[in-house]
């Protein structure tokens, strides 16, 4: 199919582009402000007179890089990837079981899960801390990983995905001699890649950006996750309007997630992969 030739938009098109342009500016403005602020000195921030940095400087980034940023980055990666793997595995298996298997209490179990979805995470954080404390896991990454290893929201998402999953492909796998587990791992999971990637990205982002739970569970500086660590650095310089540090830290923390999204973007779009083996 040839690329359509761009024509001069009519007035309604101009209005639409104008609106989209303004909306884009509004969306990108905070990022632009963050970048510009991260390049300012604390004195410039304190004076608060200019938008653009008079003398752009990378001092904020230098301070952060001389802190334990690399340790905190590694900690965040470790916890986020561990939680993501556990979530993808368990949520997918649970969703598949709820969608495919008929067992006593299935409907009741699903309804209970839907009720639990409505309970905010903040409500369960203290009980979770108490359980972790009794297990002697406070101030360990395991406390974060185990308490975040499953997400009911994504169990529901995977259940809905598998309800619409073509059963004949699984039946073909049965006739090919696959056990239920083999069918799940060799056939179902590869075909569920768009849903798995979506789940992985959102779980990863959720863990990466989480602040409250690590603040509650982790107290050792060398075990801090990135948001905690950046917060600690910012508080260290709190008296000197350290917005440049906060903005630099925020931008650094966003980079890995942005990279992840850009890398996996095509898998979001490939939603019809599961139908290409069918009529």
């Amino acid at each position: 199919m040839s690329t359509p030739t761009l024509r001069r938009p009519a007035s309604s098109g101009l209005l639409l582009y104008g609106f989209l342009g303004c909306y884009s500016l509004l969306t990108l403005a905070p990022f632009a402000w963050a970048i510009l602020t991260s390049l300012k000195s604390t004195r410039e921030i304190a004076s608060g007179t200019t938008l653009l940095p008079a003398s752009p400087t990378l001092d904020a980034y230098r301070i952060l890089l001389h802190s334990e940023l690399d340790t905190w980055l590694l900690n965040s990666f470790t916890v986020a990837i561990s939680v993501t793997v556990l979530n993808v595995l368990f949520n997918t298996m649970a969703g598949y079981a709820l969608a495919r298997y008929r067992f006593r209490g299935r409907q009741l179990l699903f309804q209970v899960l839907m009720l639990l979805v409505m309970v905010p995470g903040q409500v369960t954080m203290i009980p979770a801390f108490q359980i972790v404390a009794r297990l002697g896991l406070v101030d360990t990454h395991l406390s974060l990983i185990l308490t975040s290893g499953v997400s009911i929201t994504y169990i529901f998402m995977m259940r809905q995905f598998f309800i619409n999953f073509p059963t004949e492909i699984e039946e073909a796998a049965i006739l090919d001699g696959c056990s239920p587990l083999a069918s799940f791992f060799r056939i179902v999971l590869p075909m569920a890649r768009p849903a798995l990637v979506t789940q992985a990205v959102f779980v990863f982002m959720g863990v990466w950006n989480e602040f409250m739970k690590p603040l509650l569970f982790i107290s050792s500086v060398d075990l801090y996750l990135l948001p905690q660590g950046l917060n600690a650095v910012a508080r260290q310089f709190a008296k000197s309007s350290s917005w440049n540090l906060i903005m630099a830290g925020s931008l650094l923390s966003v980079m890995p997630v942005l990279l992840l999204y850009v890398t996996l973007n095509r898998h979001f779009i490939n939603l019809n992969d599961q139908s290409s083996g069918l009529k």
Partner: protein, 373 residues
Amino acid sequence: MTTVCLRDIDLAYNGTPVLNDVNLTIEAGQFCVFIGPSGCGKSTLLRLIAGLETLTRGEILIDGVRVNDTPPAARQLAMVFQSYALYPHMSVRDNMAFGLTRQKLPKDVIARRVADAARILQLEPLLDRKPGALSGGQRQRAAIGRAIVKQPKVFLFDEPLSNLDAALRSQTRIELAKLHRELGSASMIYVTHDQVEAMTLADQIVLLRPHAGQGLPSIAQVGRPLDLYHHPVNLFAAGFIGSPRMNFLPGHVVCADAGAVGATVLGQPCRALVDGSGLATGAAITVGIRPEHIEVGDGPWQGRITHIEALGEHGYLHLMLGDGATTMVAKTGLEELRIGQTVRLTLPEAALHVFDADGHAQRRLQPRRHAAA
């Protein structure tokens, strides 16, 4: 060479009967077609044989061995699904090899079988493509290839041609018939709702009827294609087999013996060459005649043309007879006929079917060939 035997099979979902009292033998090497209207359970019966459904009662025997509790993969069957069910993340080669890999066959054996099947089905240029890059017909051949490589005792086809266009369907039908001859020893069980496929492919047709809950056996008739066409055993079989549908007219017996039945149909006398044993004088009957066997011109019945379907060389006349009865006639040379015109009809005695009050057919005595319209 494999025989499949179904004995006393019932299947119900949550108490709702789907299949009732199915008894059937599919002989070795036979091409057996399950046909019937939507919801009659033909795909369900196929899936029962495959082991993808659990029967409520009865037994399935393959080569005399009871397989009710045998896992699907161990029944030595191969199935081509209605939707092809190819694994979209695997190439055609890997799709075909997957089942053999699960059986832990040597790699050279797998490679040889895949190559042989690809050659038979002309899939060689497509082996490294994924299903998403194939056309409908190519996917269908890949699905058949996946079945062939298993060298099964029985092939199961669940409406494999239903989504192909007419030309491709016609061509693929011929290829399937050739495949059956080539493969020789394997039986094929084929589900379709298309009568042309059934009539042209089958060695044996199994006609299933819906409404298993009404106590009737699910199988209405089993036989060779032309047997079902010329000698339907009940009203359902007579009305389903043949396109367009057989015309049914109410009548009463005037006289009946083993050689013929004389009857009154829409006030006119007629004679049918059927065995009238068991029919009492005055008994209510249904007389059937196929549209292609009614003669237009002279005759005691009159019909007013209500609709004309011209299909080219031939077409169909829709007629209103006396007492509000309607009938359809297949005819050539429709150009001179007009809607509203009255025509006279003859119902040749050799073309008539007679059904008693319970819908059972009286045995026809006439040889199969008779005058067409």
